[in-house]
Amino acid sequence: MSNLLRVEFRRLLSRRIVRFAGAVVLLGLLIAGLVLFVRSHRLDAASAARLQAKEEAKYEQAIASCSAGDFGIPPSDVPKGETMQQFCQEIVQPPSIPNPAFHLTQYRAVAEGLSGLLIALLTVLGATSAGAEWHSGTVTTQLTWEPRRTRLLVAKVAVAGVFAFVAFFAVEALLFGVLAPAALFRGSTNGIDAGWFAGTGVILLRAAAVAAMGAAIGHTLAWLARNTAVAVGAALGYAAVVEPLLRAARPKWEPWFLVSNAVRFITAHPLDFTTQARSTTGAGILLAAYTVGAVVVSLAVFRRRDVT
């Protein structure tokens, strides 16, 4: 089995699409880090006061324009007992001083935002890994070396999952690496302590687990269909069409939906529009059960179907 796992890893890492995706992600992160580094800067007291005064002047000018009727507000819209100026003070946004310094604590939100994209990418990579095998016919060749189909598929799914888990963490770590210089030299690291690292680490760990399960499900779907496009289409169709439709038609089924539970598991919060949700652990267990179920179905079909 260890030979099989090693070979699968080597094959996966040698794939052009994996290297290409890795290069694109790396380039994107480097560019993002560079742009952030250039744009981020700390404010000294004088600059902050100057900015504050400028924003307040803008605010006063907006109130004056509004009160003079420049905003075109009919007097009938002003609530009884209020003057136009009072009404304008209610509707014009108070001044806020933009802080151009990047705070490293923002990394968690950025990493969470990137998670969805990474999970989708790794799911597609998992599917292409299986689809490419069927497209090139190499499953036939491999079976003439390792005819035990259960071992073969389990090794492939395991490698897809482990690869996704590691790749997810690597990208998130790299993201931290490219954002950190902006915070260290031109921003702020306030609030970064062991507790923050632990909290962020747990979120990323759960997100990496979802990425691994996504890659495994993508792989099994493509193995089942013997085609990448069908698997990606099915996954996309489910996430973008089937689940939202079911959510609208059968809100009580919410605790069983894949995407809702994935979000719940990663963020530890239910989706905004959900009314019923599982616990974070419950969501994780359900996702794992779905993944195992997909592998078992794919395996059962693979063991029975001819390879022609």
């Binding site: 070979v7 090139s136 190499t138």
Partner: protein, 314 residues
């Protein structure tokens, strides 16, 4: 047969089609391949050769019957003998964007075979110079040779080669023939399916001919060639008419065809012909047994109407 390395008993394979039909690919095939030598597996397109090979390698599940490979039941214990079996099924399927060497290395690592073996088989099939190139840039012949290299990597006792000379030029075909003979001389059993009958005739010790999923002939090449045929001597001489009369008068079955006489006699009794003709003052200019090619036998056997003409059941 105790020394059989491949045995097929009552093999039947039906493919179910998407629209409800069924195709009978192999219909009750019984076959035994003895250890050692080159065994040719012949049949026209659609005869069931590749399906039989896929059943032997566990790629396809038989509808009925069983296959054993190196005395292991393919359905239950193929994994226990697969490291002793090298194979190519149709066009070798390898990763097109990986180099030939990487493809072989990935396979070799499955069984802990070292890099030295990869280099050796690449040399053996003449691909060492192009081993670093992507397989998609290879010609069909090169892919075929890479497939053979992959099959040789395990240093197998049994080689199952499905159309190994497919796509090769004449020089390549000769190389494959020599390679197969060499492998056989090393004590391996080579089971080779082919359409190239002249090659099979030169390369194989035994053959099996398949038609419409059924075995129509099997045995040593010479036996199959003489199957159901009476041996004929071709006799050439100047006085054809007189010679024909003399041979018939002597009680031999003879006829005249294409400027020569055909006498129904085995080659070992050729002296009888010369004796009869010489005693009447006629002298032969040529006396040889009629040569029958495997192609003639193959066409004769495979063009026979099958008892089951309704081959594709709908």
């Amino acid at each position: 047969m105790d020394s059989a390395v491949i045995e097929v008993e009552g093999l039947r394979k039906e493919y179910r089609r998407m629209r409800g039909g069924r195709t009978l690919a192999v219909d009750g095939l019984d076959m035994s391949v003895p250890q050692g030598g080159v065994f040719g597996f012949l049949g026209p397109n659609g005869a069931g050769k590749t399906t039989t090979i896929r059943c032997l390698l566990g790629l396809v599940r038989p509808t009925a019957g069983r296959c054993t490979l190196l005395r292991a039941d393919v359905h239950a214990a193929l994994a226990s003998v697969i490291d002793r079996v090298g194979s190519i099924v149709e066009t070798p399927a390898l990763y097109p964007r990986f180099s030939g060497r990487l493809n072989l290395e990935l396979l070799s690592r499955l069984q802990g075979i070292g890099r030295g073996a990869v280099d050796a088989v690449l040399d053996q099939v003449g691909l060492a110079d192009r081993a670093g190139d992507q397989v998609r840039t290879y010609s069909l012949g090169m892919k075929q040779r890479l497939g053979i290299a992959a099959a040789l990597l395990k240093d197998p006792e049994v080689l199952i080669l499905d159309e190994p000379a497919n796509g090769l030029d004449p020089a390549g075909i000769k190389e494959v023939r020599d390679l197969v003979r060499r492998l056989s001389s090393q004590g391996r059993t080579v089971f080779v399916s082919s359409h190239q009958l002249a090659e099979v005739q030169q390369m194989c010790d035994r053959v099996a001919i398949l038609s419409r999923g059924r075995l129509v002939a099997t045995g040593k090449v010479a036996e199959v060639l003489s199957r159901g045929r009476r041996e004929v001597l071709i006799v050439k001489l100047r006085e054809l008419e007189a010679g024909l009369g003399a041979l018939r008068t002597a009680g031999l079955e003879a006829s005249m065809e294409d400027g020569s006489l055909r006498v129904q006699l085995p080659a070992s009794e050729g002296a009888k012909v010369t004796e009869i003709l010489a005693s009447r003052g006629m002298f032969v200019s040529e006396l040889r047994p009629e040569e029958v090619s495997l192609e003639d036998v193959f066409l004769e056997l495979t063009q026979e109407p099958s008892p089951s003409q309704d081959h594709v059941a709908r």
